[in-house]
Symmetry: D2
Subunit: 430 residues, 4 copies
């Protein structure tokens, strides 16, 4: 294993924090005990948790107006893996990375797998890209890809996805995530039904190429880059497509891809109900697909999503086995810091949701005690599980405070030396 | 046939408008001819069009803050039928009424059918009501109905819907519309999945009572009266329920029941794609379920919905046979006027959508000529088809200007004499 | 002082909770000490906090579809004061009530003041009502009140507000809150500018009647009951009106009266900047003006609002002296329980915001350390201050767990006996 | 004058359309005459109308995901002026261009003015840019510009705006438009009030540099590029700033910069009321700041905005003198076509609003005839004024159908030869 961050540093920082941590942890233990909760079981649970980091997430993002890269931007998949390795080393809850093709293409995937393993990392869902044109590409995706009016362009997009399946096999990944930007900017630009039919037909060809044990995740999004209509704009469209394709096709929920005010946790519940929940792209948002850090805008919403997940797990919902990924755009922060912070916040929501007294909740629900039921959820949400999460990290060799340790280590300054700035370059999505 | 509005009056008003009308109609004819459109075929089409009027729509509506009834409020289904008869007499495009049970319950449905027939009216979908408590009702719907935590309450709501099916049979109606307000005001108040399961199980019992030839329309709504979650909040939930229930269950689209910014015409396209479009509750809205007059806020959106319908008809989409109903709340206008105006605007959107040059549209789409395709739609939308709609009305005995004729007739003042004000009474939904 | 809830009961329940409470409180004390925060100062701060309860809030609310009253609904202002007294007795953080005229009109306001004082209550802002018609009222508010097209109707609405000022004087209240429903349901229904001019002219007359020391709070709302336009729809319109009226006129912020996605805390900051923040109507919402319990939908948003308030207090913002009121609709809960729970959650946000390390925050901001600054806020938000709030309550004679104590006491069952159900009656807004 | 499009071609196409046009125009004339409207006066009005074209609008736009440039992209301000000249030559309603600095910087502004004059173009408001970093710039705008935490960065942004004022003087422009992207992506990232104070102080310095006769337009925007808060997020913030700065500062309304569902026409009315309406950036949108073609999403909304403008003009509103500019992003169309189409649609809304029978409207409003008033507006909106607009264009030498003429001319193919593709280059905002 390659140590990207000094283990001595982590150890000494953790040691400094030890006394206060132990007091806080013991206090939480006594409080949870009084509520009938075994803190050790919860620490185990926290240690078992992991969320995938997207390779593109370690580069600085931007908007259509501008992108302001920081020092030490990763230049390629190798730099990105190292950055992801830092996140895992300090948080111990991000054991896989989710690559993006063609940005992360290499000649030797076996070697890439070994490289990742050196950092304690495996590969999660592979993401295809048919929303940008690549150099030398025969046909443009200006007017769409899998749903394009022209069959040859659709075929090109299908071939790219089939290639991604091959790469996923080589990387040991068990899922292909398909998000397309296809849609229209004008009423009438395309026939809404024909686009959907084109999409489904193209997806059927890709589906046919899925090997046994590999799934296909369909990602819906309300708008952007298309601003009048989007082919897979909502979970209803995603569900119809997944139903048509077959059991290996499931619906991915990105928290920022919904209409304003929508109750996302109920969408999650519905997808679980029909056995079609693929998993998540975690982020937070206030306006549109803002791709902000998870739990930075509405932490209670994230908790409520996890409440559905823990409930489904508890009742043994059929076919329930979601994948968890972060998908954020870090425009004004060090991406490594944002991803570490987000990984911690997502784990927090998971553990808080695990604290819900489900027996008391069910009783209040049966009695139509609306406030009692709500307060049962809130009791879990209000619990400050920070010491529990820190304990889980430290037991696995991670940092008491990952961001503080990262800053103390100086990793960013170090790689800034090694990675010269490339004018105008972007690590993917701006 | 009972003449609610003086036929002489209609005749003399139409005669006065004749010269100008003929000039406008002839001008439109020449313009359409140049575009290859036969105005006579369009007049026929307009004459064939009909949208149902909701019986509750002829009473003044309101909000949770207040309701301000006007003179001559209908006191019962008999008054309501007369008011609906006026609308049909003047517009000739509202040949059915959609009743609401228990508000419109009577002892003799055969007689009610004859009473309606005297006004040239038949019965459209019957609407059940489990969102209000009725006097003497055993169990309250405070916490829900078909999705209630308690089986006995669910059974009561099921029985009410089964009774509605019987009434529908007696009235010659071929559909039951089920809209429930069930949901929660607090996260945790109920288990989101269990509510959905309760709803589906209850609906299965109702479904089993449907006679041959009768369909069940599921109406989704994002929120109100429940403000945290609603069981059938979106078309995705509606679709899962309809799929589970079977072929007689379809999804109704109310234009005001969606999240902000949602592309409604694409939802319509998706429901047509899976053969599950039940039909519409027409109204318009700016903020929430405002239930404003159709086409008063966003007439282009209504046109785009009809563009999908006319397209589906033109391509012979499988199972395409939607029902059309108005569902509005008239808080500050004479409801008869608003309903007549809305009936005309809906017919306008239907005819404008029928003018779209679908061959040119398809060619522009195939060529990715986004602006050309859009302009093809817009050319139809910008056409002022008022003379064509007036011609269709007049050929059937209706009024050149229904609202002007209604005002000239003095119907409202007449019924205000016959219908004394009932303090605090409401004709249904406030 | 009249004891509405058994003080013995409160005492014995608090005693039972004592051991666990002391452990939790001591743990929090040690944790806060390590962060340089004096828990005693915070307890003092919590003890000094108070939020007004609206008299109409203790009755069950509803929607335009239905209202489902519970047992023991208050029949008049006397019942309402008792219910408010219960809330104060148990939470010790609701020392005033905000009355609504004409619902709370009495013949002897001096006696009413004494009656309230017996429960430890005073009077906060008086709310006028020109959105409903009252029996015997000369002119209807169907088409508006202070902005009505007709001068006589405007004068009637002005006179009502002037009467409210007199009542406020008699009750020792120092503010009049003016919320009007005036607006339109149709584009063109009224001239948008003329309505605004009518409103301002009417308000100027009311303003002139304000005695020294009394302020006027203008409450804006995006929509409902008007669904196309509302005269005072946003804080910009509210601000123009308040600026035109003079220094006694200020802008009230109701958390549920904004457009979707709006950054409310920044609106609060802007109103503080111009010295025009009147105060708040607290509630929470997911879709529209849902009037849900405070902090039940988005507790972090409430915290961020208080972060602005505490920041303004800390920097001594000029003219900063907001009033705090709850304004909720309790449709499915016991209103007393909801109001107690909400009072606690609002106090929680206030205390959490008081924990923010403002020096560290300012340093992070100066260094553009976006994540560091955010984490400084989050550290305060994640702190579970429940023991601190409970301590403040108990030191003042309140309950460790107000809702549990209320349930144990049986107050609701008791008043249900004394207050017979009135068919069809509403305590105000449904 | 340089003829960019063959005048012979325009003449021959117009001649071909003549017969049909004359029939349609005469029909409209008769219809309007019956409504008491003089078509000649309206043609004059249409001929007097003009809207500015943004220089950046003639380049292909994009999103953060991708930009798909088309053939013949303009390489510099000279190419852009030619493209704008084409738009003016064919539509005759776009007599000015709005430049963007530094993108359109040249060494000789006098020459540029002459170059523009050759195409019949003058210069409208100059737009500054502090939302992107330029090569060689001393300080980055990553964390803001005029509201930056650091005084030196603010000073740099001030200096840029002062330079823009100088350029505006040289170009004969009478306004500076200031839109900044300043804001935050995280709660707490900056102090919301301090940012606003920084902004105002910086703007005061710029304001001081305004020469006599030049105004400053403040452009608010809800979000993007900042996703948690934006300094000038709404018209309320814009208004406070404009009030603080002085009479030369006014508020610009971009149709796509508002919260969902907001009533934009009422905001326009409010800004007119306080004499602070600077003017418009026209575009249309369905979700966020989609920057779609004007009137392509909600043409009735555009009409309602113009209804306010025509009403203000008719009543002689004090200080009413707005500037009109298009601001769109053309991602999937030929920008010249989109801008011509948009110019026509904006003129359509202007003329339709001019057709409103304001006397009948005022009478209906005075009588609270909500539906009558609304129908008065709708009568104007439903009028197909296409022949009137075409007549106004042709009388000035423009094309009966600008887009058809443009396509027939082959301008795009011609410039595609002259303007080689520049890899990765953008004409400004992607």
């Amino acid at each position: 294993m390659t140590a990207l961050i000094s283990e001595d540093l982590i150890g000494s920082l953790n040691a400094k924090a030890r006394t206060a941590h132990e007091d806080d942890f013991a206090s939480l233990d006594r409080q949870l005990s009084r509520r009938g909760i075994d803190i050790e079981a919860m620490v185990e649970r926290a240690m078992g948790w992991s969320v995938a980091v997207p390779t593109w997430g370690v580069g600085t993002g931007g908007t259509r107006f501008a992108r302001f890269p920081g020092p030490g931007e990763p230049r390629n998949i190798h730099d990105k893996l190292a950055d992801c390795g830092v996140i895992q080393a300090l948080t111990r809850g991000t054991r896989t990375v989710s690559p993006h093709i063609p940005w992360d293409k290499v000649s030797d995937y076996k070697a890439l797998r070994q490289e990742a393993a050196q950092y304690g990392l495996g590969f999660d869902a592979v993401n295809s890209n048919t929303f940008q044109d690549q150099d030398g590409q025969a046909r443009s995706y200006r007017y769409g890809s899998l749903a394009h009016a022209d069959a040859a362009t659709r075929a090109q997009a299908v071939a790219h996805n089939v290639e991604c399946i091959e790469i996923a096999k080589a990387l040991g990944s068990t899922a292909l995530t398909v998000w397309i930007g296809d849609g229209t900017n004008f009423a009438g630009q395309q026939n809404l039904t024909r686009m959907f039919e084109n999409y489904i037909a193209a997806m059927e060809t890709i589906y046919a190429a899925l090997p046994s044990g590999m799934e296909m995740f369909l990602e819906h999004k309300m708008y952007e880059p298309a601003f009048y209509s989007t082919v897979i704009a909502d979970w209803g469209s995603s569900l119809i497509a997944a139903q048509t394709l077959g059991p290996k096709a499931k619906c991915l929920v990105d928290l920022g891809h919904h209409a304003p005010n929508v109750n996302i946790e109920q969408i999650v519940a519905r997808l679980i109900h029909v056995g079609k929940l693929a998993g998540f792209h975690f982020n937070d948002s206030k306006y549109g697909d803002d791709d902000l850090d998870s739990a930075s805008v509405d932490p209670f919403r994230l908790f409520l999503v996890f409440n559905e997940l823990v409930d489904a797990e508890a009742r043994g919902a059929k076919g329930f086995n979601p994948s968890y990924m972060i998908d954020q755009s870090h425009n004004v922060t060090d991406p490594i810091e944002s991803l570490m912070g987000s990984a911690v916040e997502i784990a927090r929501a998971y553990i808080q949701a695990s604290l819900v007294d489900r027996k008391a909740l069910a009783e209040a629900q049966a009695a139509n005690d609306a406030l009692g039921a709500h307060r049962t959820l809130k009791a879990a949400y209000l619990t400050d599980v920070s010491p529990l999460l820190a304990e889980a990290r430290m037991r696995q060799g991670g940092a008491h405070d990952p961001i503080a340790a990262y800053r103390a280590d100086g990793y960013r300054a170090r790689v800034a030396q090694e990675r010269p700035e490339v004018k105008g370059a972007s690590s993917g999505i701006v």
